[in-house]
């Protein structure tokens, strides 16, 4: 729950101040405002809800809304991944996890929620403070766009000759990084296999672990 709150605080605080160049109340700005308001509302609903099925569904809605927000920020590849992984895959995995455990979250006493609330508040304040120094959205002189990013955009048509610069950076310029990411995904699958038992390999069924 608190993780979700922290994540929502992170998303909300990181992107809100990054559109200061919007002059006047344009349509795109209205769409972004609506999406951010819906994100915040979904996060609050997730925190207040006790039924885990509803929380899993809301987390899927949260991912879909953030995917829509990434589209509004012109990050189509990130939005695609968020929609596929966040809204699709992790919702299904959460649901199959809930099927193995309780359906309703245990009530937590008020006094135990104070310390996490302070931690989340301090983290959110630090993130909001950090965004003050962030360059404006789409700033050509921002460090992310200036040095190697500009070189990739300028040289991809002559070096790689693929229309999608993201793919060129991911698979060719930074191919070794992507290899590392693939190994991470492989390791995650291997860890799940080891933790949840090899019963799934042998055709499903109960894994007794020799306890009985």
């Amino acid at each position: 729950m608190m993780l979700a709150a922290a994540a929502s605080a992170e998303v909300g605080s990181e992107v809100t101040p990054s559109t200061p160049e919007v002059v006047g109340f344009t349509g795109a700005f209205a769409v972004e405002l609506c999406l951010l308001a819906l994100l915040a509302a979904t996060a609050v609903a997730m925190i207040r809800m006790r039924r885990l099925f509803g929380v899993a569904m809301l987390s899927g809605i949260y991912s879909l809304l953030s995917a829509a927000f990434f589209v509004a920020l012109d990050a189509v590849d990130v939005a695609f991944t968020e929609a596929a992984v966040g809204a699709g895959m992790s919702t299904v995995l959460l649901l199959s996890g809930i099927a193995l455990t309780a359906k309703v979250e245990m009530p937590v006493s008020r006094t135990r929620t104070i310390a996490p609330l302070i931690i989340v508040g301090v983290t959110a304040a630090a993130l909001v403070y950090a965004t003050i120094d962030m360059p404006g959205f789409g700033d050509a002189n921002a460090p992310a766009n200036a040095y190697v990013g500009r070189a990739y955009i300028e040289q991809t048509p002559s070096d790689i000759e693929v229309p999608n610069v993201v793919t060129a950076v991911l698979a060719s310029y930074r191919g070794f990084d992507t290899f590392g990411e693939t190994v991470v995904v492989f390791t995650a699958g291997l860890a799940c296999l080891l933790l949840l038992g090899a019963g799934a390999i042998r055709g499903g069924g109960r894994n007794d672990d020799g306890e009985h």
């Binding site: 189509v76 590849d77 939005a79 695609f80 991944t81 596929a84 992984v85 699709g88 895959m89 299904v92 995995l93 199959s96 996890g97 099927a99 193995l100 455990t101 309780a102 070096d159 790689i160 000759e161 693929v162 229309p163 999608n164 993201v166 793919t167 060129a168 991911l170 698979a171 060719s172 191919g175 070794f176 992507t178 290899f179 990411e181 693939t182 190994v183 995904v185 492989f186 995650a188 699958g189 291997l190 799940c192 296999l193 949840l196 038992g197 019963g199 799934a200 390999i201 042998r202 055709g203 499903g204 069924g205 109960r206 894994n207």
Partner: protein, 146 residues
């Protein structure tokens, strides 16, 4: 077994989802997408099928013992592309050496497609493997079930 309407919907959507996964896989050079997204979409088609028609039906199509092999094969395809370029005397994953005479960087295109296939296979098998690992377990009895 899911509801009848869900099962009919899943039957209609199953093939288009797989087709879309391959589109995303091979169109990654030209538009948004690539191996990672395609692998997730491909796995989600089979997960949808398992949700509607039961895990056993899905495991008849893709047996669980294939998946660790697919995961490893995907990583090996990626690493193998790098080893291939090294064997021809260039750096790890420096695709230009695959077609050195090409004037439109065909080596880069072939290398990117090979690498993306490796990513797609590894991700699809891993996602399905994680789902099988979760869904293949029977729920533990709760404390209040006694």
């Amino acid at each position: 077994m899911g509801h009848l309407i869900l099962r009919v919907t899943i039957k209609i959507l199953f093939a288009p989802i797989i087709l879309f996964a391959f589109y995303v896989q091979f169109h990654g050079d030209y538009g948004p997408g690539g191996g990672f997204q395609a692998g997730v979409i491909l796995a989600s088609a089979f997960i949808l099928h398992a949700l509607g028609f039961g895990l056993a039906t899905c495991q008849k199509v893709i047996p669980p013992n294939w998946l660790p092999a697919g995961m490893a094969l995907g990583v090996l395809i990626y690493a193998g592309t790098g080893i291939y370029t090294m064997l021809f005397g260039d750096n790890f994953l420096d695709y230009d050496v695959i077609q050195p005479d090409s004037h439109h960087h065909a080596g880069q295109h072939i290398g990117i497609i090979a690498v993306e296939i490796g990513v797609g296979l590894a991700v699809a098998c891993t996602m399905l493997q994680i789902f099988y690992a979760f869904a293949g377990r029977e729920p533990e009895p709760m404390d209040d079930a006694w």
